[in-house]
Symmetry: C2
């Protein structure tokens, strides 16, 4: 079996990268009551992982995350945000690296840098999965969307834990991330927004309470009524008031 | 000038630590309307920094943060939480390391690992500063509390930025961190809690709104009235209902 050039390049880059640091991207996809996550299937295996990679010597972490996501999934122009660093000394099973490389014609010496300890910086994003059709730059790899409640069994390393932590962060900060991740269309109804919340939180919410809480955040602007059947039934349309959303997200520290 | 043994030990540990990764601890201190932060003054200089250090090969990040905080300030048994990773390639000015070491009798070669790139994992905590009297294990160092709005001018590296980001995170998540950081006494009045919020957010809050919002979080348990002057003026006492605080902080992911 010949070398897979893309995998060979990946494991030949030790001198160009920051040692001990990797990045993993958790891309959540939402559309009409479905919440998915983007996974990559390693070439010639049934092993899935997040879109991950290393940090080049001259890159910031944010730049690396953007480059890695693009390389492994073809996605560009998506806002990524750091949410946690994973640093358990035993978080990565080196056997998985060995298996993946072997299946792609690359035999790694035991001293290879892939077997050293890495901490991984987790980045996440929330996108509309119908707008994004992922493709890996690595020929043998496939990437695709998986329902968050029906993930494949064979997820490598600590990546299931990373997905769980990302979902926990997203749920905890959903009020603040709504405008940041720019997920809703330009205008939307309160019902559409409630559907997003219910899908991400995985529970039904009371309509009146939800509306009261959302309006109290002060980030929604109410527009004209949506055209519909009977006038009394037409729902209001809303949009995010970015001027109010941003100060809530980034407070003035020293005021 | 002879070597300062503690600094010498610090810079001789390259083989024992994870390369490229450091940790910085932002310890906020609160007491009666004052918000402070704990800084360390490097030996024989007027340069201040956060309590920082490196990660030993076999340590988790959380373990390293606890050990480092103890080494540089004497603090133990304080719950630290990771809040952000700082990864700008130019975040550290190597001249500062050179100066500090020189002032302590250690001459560093240009190839020394201290001059390589490090990303830094930020940890934070919120404590009562009257309960903690910090002392560094490094003989020439001093550590002490500084009012957050009157910090010394000469703070090293990107540590002012790290403090700002920590304060931003604390403000954003204050509702969730109240019980986690276990800052309030066992029982407290709504006025005492409001004072904590006002000090951390650095603004006055409307009493009625604040009370309504706090009660809506569902994490406070109302106890008997505090003994005071006229019965109609005595405020209620509250305490955190930990059983409710924890699920809100750590949601069930896959329910």
């Amino acid at each position: 079996m010949g070398h897979n050039k893309e995998y060979k390049d990946l494991i030949d880059q030790e001198k160009d990268i920051l040692p001990a640091v990797s990045i993993d991207c958790v891309i959540f996809g939402f559309h009409e009551n479905q919440l998915k996550v983007l996974l990559v299937k390693f070439g010639n295996t049934d092993i899935y992982s997040l879109s991950g990679g290393f940090v080049l010597n001259e890159e910031s972490l944010d730049e690396a995350a953007t480059r890695i996501l693009n390389h492994r999934t073809g996605i560009s122009n998506t806002y990524l945000e750091q949410f946690y660093v994973f640093g358990d000394p035993k978080r990565v099973d080196p056997e998985i690296h060995r298996t993946v490389m072997k299946k792609n014609g690359v035999d790694l010496p035991p001293t290879h840098f892939l077997f050293k300890r890495f901490i991984s910086v987790g980045y996440y994003a929330l996108v509309d999965f119908t707008q994004i059709n992922p493709t890996s730059s690595i020929a043998q790899e496939e990437s695709g969307w998986f329902d968050i409640y029906e993930l494949p069994a064979n997820i490598a390393f600590d990546h299931l834990h990373i997905i769980q932590k990302a979902l926990e962060s997203l749920r905890l900060l959903l009020d603040h991330k709504l405008a940041v991740f720019n997920l809703m269309p330009e205008t939307f109804t309160m019902g559409e927004l409630q559907s997003l919340y219910e899908t991400i939180l995985n529970k039904k919410l009371l309509r009146a309470n939800f509306q009261r809480k959302m309006l109290s955040l002060g980030i929604l602007e109410r527009l004209e009524k949506k055209w519909g059947g009977g006038a009394h039934k037409a729902p209001y349309l809303y949009r995010f008031d970015q001027s109010k959303a941003i100060p809530a997200h980034k407070p003035d520290y020293w005021e």
